[in-house]
Amino acid sequence: MNSANYLYLSALLFTLGAVGVVVRRNAIVVFMCIELMLNAANLSFVTFSRINGNLDGQVVAFFTMVVAACEVVIGLAIIVTIYRSRRSASVDDASLLKR
């Protein structure tokens, strides 16, 4: 199967993620969308690694997963504190800082 399709898929996922970030309100969901984007990137890494015929891409993928995990930790921590103090996970509520 033409590996280009994987690229299209990853691009699609990335776009979905990006759009999701912009349109969804719930912080968790937004965060998930970002994760989606990261994994889209991963997918293209792997695909390219296939195309280029070396393993660097796949190595990167592993790194990415780890990093993503760290991000989850930090992210959830922040989101939870916000939620506790505001009783809402809507990113639109957090808009005191402006102009």
Partner: protein, 505 residues
């Protein structure tokens, strides 16, 4: 480039390792040292680590190696300079952070909740911030010396993640602080997704994750340009986000305002050095041969950034926000250094980064001093007549502002000159014109603040300047002295930069 024996030259990596080690020890300190001793222990640990690292950097200042970590980092003049600047700035910032007044005792506690009150009463203070700082510093130190995409990405996250947390640690105005943390985190993660995606495409284009590989691939010109360009574009998004260039700047004002001022100082100064360090390396080495594609874009972005930052800063009523926008404008100026794409550009950028970083730390340091009963006063109108109340603080702050404005005999002027002459030499006169114009606009609001401090009579609203702690005072004074010194006798620094600032491949 050939990979020789797969060994790590610890000597060259020692600065980074020291900082990392310090960070880890810091975690242990958090765990085991008694609450009483913690603050002092953490502080001395942090400062000690940083000083030691700085010393190490000094010892390796003349060594050059691409194989320090099997080709994933490079140690060369620029690397040394960047790391040194980052360390110096971090030390100064650490002094500010040491003033725990600014931090929430228990980050986890709900604002205004019972246990927060108790925590405050029991006089416990937050000290996690120190290890976090060290982690961030280590990330920053790797970021500009990384020579492959993996290291670059990891370093990016290493420096970002602690900052996300630190932004949320302000003792007062918790809600704002947490909000800023959230915004910083979400947008940061968002942009790093772009970064990663871009990285993927660069890898796809060149079949290598190392800058050298990418450079060769681009030079070779084989492969699909569109992929390359998407790669460059998305990678740039990640970097431009970090430096706060329009239109990827939106986070910075909010975060600068919401975060605890010492943290703001730290990230405003140090992050810029790291991010631009990385940017310079990538664009000067990896992307140099693709300049016809990316240069026009960066020129446009740089011009927009300068003007936007300066214009919006005029309309600000909050000191920290104003400084945020001014830092956006300066990001625009610094981009001129990237665009210059010549040695002068590199030298100028490095000088500018250091000078700007020091001045920024100093400026925010002053901000931490102006307070009323409820904490820092960042509303500009309440700074009126500061010159009467405490002439020295006002004068020093004015000094920083003049440096930002680029008035002769301050470091800012030399920096501006260096950067713009480099850009002009690089053939982009438009940047110089725009830079001059926006500098004029910028001068307008810096002067407005000076007028406010000196030519407006104070109204009695409890705004006062606290007697700074010895560390804060040291920071502010040192920053001021350096700012002036670099304006009057920049030669020593400039000369050493001239000799060191050569990227090796």
């Amino acid at each position: 480039m050939t990979f020789t024996a797969p060994v790590l030259s610890y000597q060259l990596l020692s600065p980074i390792l020291i900082v990392l080690g310090g960070a880890l020890i810091g975690v242990l300190v958090e765990a085991f040292v008694s609450r009483k001793l913690r603050p002092i222990a953490q502080l001395s640990l942090t400062i000690g680590t940083l000083l030691l690292a700085l010393f190490q950097v000094f010892t390796i200042r003349n060594s050059q190696s691409t194989t320090a970590a099997m080709g994933s980092v490079v140690i060369d003049g620029p690397a040394v300079l960047m790391q040194a600047s980052i360390l110096v700035i971090s030390i100064l910032a650490a002094f500010l952070i040491a003033d725990t007044e600014n931090f929430v005792p228990v980050a986890a506690a709900v604002p205004g909740s019972e246990d927060e009150r108790r925590a405050i009463q029991s006089g416990q203070t937050l000290t996690e911030v120190f290890p976090l700082t060290l982690f961030a510093v280590s990330g920053m130190m790797i970021f500009p010396i990384a020579t492959d995409l993996i290291t670059l990405f990891v370093a990016l996250e290493m420096l970002s993640l602690p900052l996300y947390l630190m932004a949320g640690l302000s003792r007062r105005r918790r809600l704002l602080s947490q909000e800023s943390a959230l915004k910083y985190f979400l947008l940061g993660a968002f942009s790093s997704a772009f970064f990663l995606f871009g990285a993927a495409y660069l890898y796809g284009y060149s079949g290598s994750v190392s800058f050298e590989g990418i450079r060769i691939a681009i030079a070779g010109g084989s492969g699909n340009d569109i992929i390359l360009l998407i790669g460059i574009a998305f990678l740039s998004v990640g970097l431009l986000f970090k430096v706060g260039a329009v239109p990827f700047h939106a986070w910075s004002p909010d975060v600068y305002q919401g975060a605890p001022t010492p943290v703001t100082a730290f990230m405003a100064a140090a992050t810029k050095v790291a991010a631009f360090g990385a940017m310079l390396r990538i664009f000067y080495t990896a992307f140099a041969n693709a300049q016809w594609q990316w240069r026009p874009l960066l020129i446009v972005i740089s011009i927009i950034t300068m003007l936007f930052g300066s214009l919006v800063a005029i309309a600000q009523r909050d000191v920290k926000r104003m400084l945020a926008y001014s830092s956006i404008a300066h990001a625009g100026f610094l981009l001129a250094g990237v665009i210059a794409l010549n040695k002068a550009g590199l030298e100028g950028s490095i000088f500018y980064l250091f000078a700007y970083g020091v001045a920024t730390v100093g400026a925010f340091g002053v901000v931490t001093l102006v307070r009323d009963s409820t904490g820092e006063v960042t509303d500009l109108n309440r700074w009126a007549g500061l010159g009467k109340r405490s002439p020295w603080v006002a004068t020093i702050f004015a000094g920083f502002l003049l440096a930002f404005a680029g008035i002769p005999l301050t470091s800012g002027f030399i920096g501006k000159f260096a950067i713009f002459s480099a850009a002009y030499e690089g053939g982009s006169k438009s940047i110089v014109i725009a830079g001059v114009l926006s500098s004029a606009i910028a001068a307008f609001f810096y002067i407005r603040v000076i007028v406010l401090m000196f030519f407006t009579d104070p109204q009695e609203d409890g705004t006062s300047v606290v007697i700074p702690s010895i560390l804060t005072r040291a920071t502010v004074v040192i920053c001021f002295v350096v700012t002036i010194a670099l304006g009057v006798f920049p030669s020593p620094l400039l000369d050493s930069i001239k000799t060191l600032a050569i990227f090796i491949r």
